[in-house]
Symmetry: C3
Subunit: 345 residues, 3 copies
């Protein structure tokens, strides 16, 4: 925890202060929970009404509010400013501890300055860890792994042999990087395991969620590109490529050898078949299922996916299906009756 003046925070977020720029705040809190000495934020105008009762000492806003009793920090993007101010006030990287008692680090490993390796970690032969990186307890790095600078690998993360992790990568607890891809050659009615001799590369600024699995390539590389953010319990198959700044929500499944473009968003439990290409700036709705290549710049949902708006309309019809069937039967009957009565005339 730290304190900051409103002036300092305005500089941090590229904004300006209405009120006393020397006012100190010590905590960012939500509109409902903020108390004196706190700064809060309004990221959507529907919450502006709450400002009349707020107990905070300052508020981050996109536009000045007249007659407000508390100080204001005005900036273009209050939600981004909230994230930056929260980071500034309340996130402290722990002091480096070096290789702590109870950690096992192979003699041939190269450990940078300011690294922390907690008890219970096992670091294999020829591993390289960049400066400032933290391994929480129980992290296992197999031989030949490289981890960049200022990374955070949370407890019980496993990185298998020869995988490469960039800088500022965050891996939540128990994620698994570089387990074998799922590949077998049919051999009569049984299966012969295809060795998975490729690797995984996580580029800079990637974040990987808890218990998420990124499988190593059969041959070559499974790659998560710069800035991609992957939530918990996601499966990324072998030889996939996930583009820069792409976001995947929990429980997504990407089958092997699929390439996803940059700046895509995959909703929870959505999935793709294997060997597909998904273009840039594609949004797949929750539980969408991609079974063919997808052109860039689309919003799709359903199984198989269709334009999201079409899907919304189609899904509204599903509860009407029994009625539709009855109606068709009734129409047929009426038509037959009519034909019959005409014949009889």
């Amino acid at each position: 925890m730290a304190t900051a003046t409103l002036g300092e925070l305005a500089t941090l977020v590229g904004g300006r202060v209405i009120g006393d720029p020397d006012l100190q705040v010590r905590r960012l809190a939500s509109l409902d929970e903020a108390a004196e000495g706190d700064i809060t934020f309004v990221s959507h105008k529907r919450y502006l009404a709450k400002l009349s009762q707020v107990r905070a000492s300052a508020v981050i806003l996109s536009h000045p509010v007249e007659g407000l009793a508390i100080a204001q920090v005005i900036c273009a993007n209050p939600y981004l400013a909230f994230a930056k101010v929260l980071t500034h006030l309340q996130v402290r990287r722990p002091e480096p501890q070096g290789i702590m008692a109870g950690a096992r680090v192979a003699a041939s490993a190269v450990i940078g300055e300011g690294v922390t390796v907690h008890p219970g970690c096992v670091v294999g032969e020829r591993v390289s860890i960049g400066r400032g990186t933290i391994l929480y307890p129980g992290v296992v790095l197999y031989e030949g792994v490289t981890v960049g600078e200022d990374c955070t690998l949370h407890a019980n993360v496993v990185v298998r042999e020869d995988c490469r992790i960039g800088n500022r990568v965050i891996i939540q607890p128990s994620a698994i990087i570089g387990s074998d891809g799922f590949g077998y050659a049919p051999d009569g009615s049984s299966y012969f395991k295809i060795p998975q001799v490729g690797i995984v590369v996580l580029e800079d600024d990637v974040e990987i969620g808890s218990a998420t699995c990124v499988d190593r390539a059969a041959l070559g590389v499974t790659r998560i590109k710069r800035g991609a953010k992957i939530d918990n319990l996601v499966q990324i198959g072998h030889n996939c490529v996930i583009g820069e700044d792409t976001v995947m929500v929990s429980q997504v499944g990407i089958s092997g050898s699929t390439t996803v473009g940059r700046h895509c968003t995959f909703g929870g439990q959505s999935a793709t078949a294997g060997h597909l290409k998904v273009g840039d700036n594609v949004t797949i709705g929750g539980r969408g299922g991609v079974t063919r290549d997808v052109e860039p710049n689309q919003v799709l949902s359903g199984l198989p996916v269709m334009p999201h708006k079409e899907w919304l309309k189609a899904q509204m019809c599903v509860p009407k299906l029994p009625e539709m069937r009855k109606e068709i039967t009734s129409l047929r009957q009426k038509l037959e009756d009519l034909e019959k009565s005409l014949k009889e005339r």
Copy 2:
């Protein structure tokens, strides 16, 4: 393992004995596998026929069966009685072992009486562990965690900083409590991580399944209330509240800031969008997808969810869709033909 007399077991389950109350049994077994010396149970009348061939020495029943050669324990709820008798006969909490060699416990941690901390555990600064709690090997408690009394944390469970766990909580292996919620502020085409500075609270008598993830709140608390039972591989997003005695089957996904009422049941792979409210006593069928607030006391299925019975009927129509389309085309054709022929008359 232990033995008990039928009289003792009848007292345990609030029932009565038909036969010798001093008869000793040593094991509860299924109808098919029970042998002499065992007690078995019938929880549904469709299994009563099997009683003629049972080799058990006693049986738990809801109503007396005439002419049965073996002793009977009669009680209101044989299925609950089965669980209680099985617990009584075959579940022994291991003897406390204290802090075992190979465990690492911070000096500032407060460890209750009768606690067992297995080798490979790492217990951080200012952790508190209540009496009788067991940590199996590889459990990692980050700094500031509190764990109540008589809890069982299975191997490789991770609880991140400051999270709070009640009494009699059971956490299956490799579950992750308190990993970062999935929150980013768009910053141009990239994303800026929103620090997740809240916590997770698991109240008394909660059970969490293997590899299940309960994310810490961004600000505030993600709360699993008293008695909720969460199966394996479930995702609970940041700032969710899960009500008392709510049950979630494997692979469920609850998106952030959603509040689920008490005594709900979520079937396997079902999910909710974020920022929703689900009322009390709601049942969501397997793979149901909740996209709006849900009133209490309903049984819903489908994506988006609808009343379960409607969904059953609607799903039965899906295979008929191609036929329905053809029928509509044919009806249109017939109608046009009819109109044409009428004009020509």
Copy 3:
């Protein structure tokens, strides 16, 4: 890494050489990445065109290609041959290391010859480990577990008490074998935990993916039969039986007490309800949902599942639903108009 002559590789895969059988190759690589000294393969004729530009020294083919500049290994099944050659050239089982410093092995455990137990492993009382088996760091074997010969248990795998693992079993990192099945007896509005006192048996040649959960039986056995291959993040409920050589792709969920036949294939995110029987040689498409027993030798998709071809046709109609509804309304209107005009004649 090793080298081999084409003659040796032809013998390995049951094929024959066109070219110099004494030619040495040192690596298997894909058509695009192969360089001099490498062997490559063509498993589908659509890739034959690439052979004109390949830089490999040899290629595995199903039929001879005339006029090819490089040596050929001709065999019946090039994809299987690829797997075998890759294994031969590039997979080396690590030298046994015994019980390494930092591993904890109970005094009563029986450890075979040539076993490796890495640092951070915890092996409980009365565990038995067959010769040649490797436990990577952080593996936890509870008391009474038996592991066969030549198994590989990757980092942070947990096997709970008394479970039995056959020979040549591979378990990817952080898989959980033998956690409690999800069983509770309703007790008023709360739940009473049903002790899960059964075990899990993984038979020979099974492979289990990362973070996959195989729950122990309530009473009796959860069994994965010989040769079954289970991908990452899969849930297998208590008392299930999975047949020989059955394949389950990532994120599949099999509910409790379901029996799946041999040589089945379950696509990603597919699932079954509990207490079902699925016959042999059944294929369930991605995200298929099985809600009733399934006869052998079928290909099914959808929720609930239907024949795959029916499902494909039905799904193509879904985006047309709004149009179909409109059409029905319009037909009804036309028919009414027609009836009316006829009455008026």
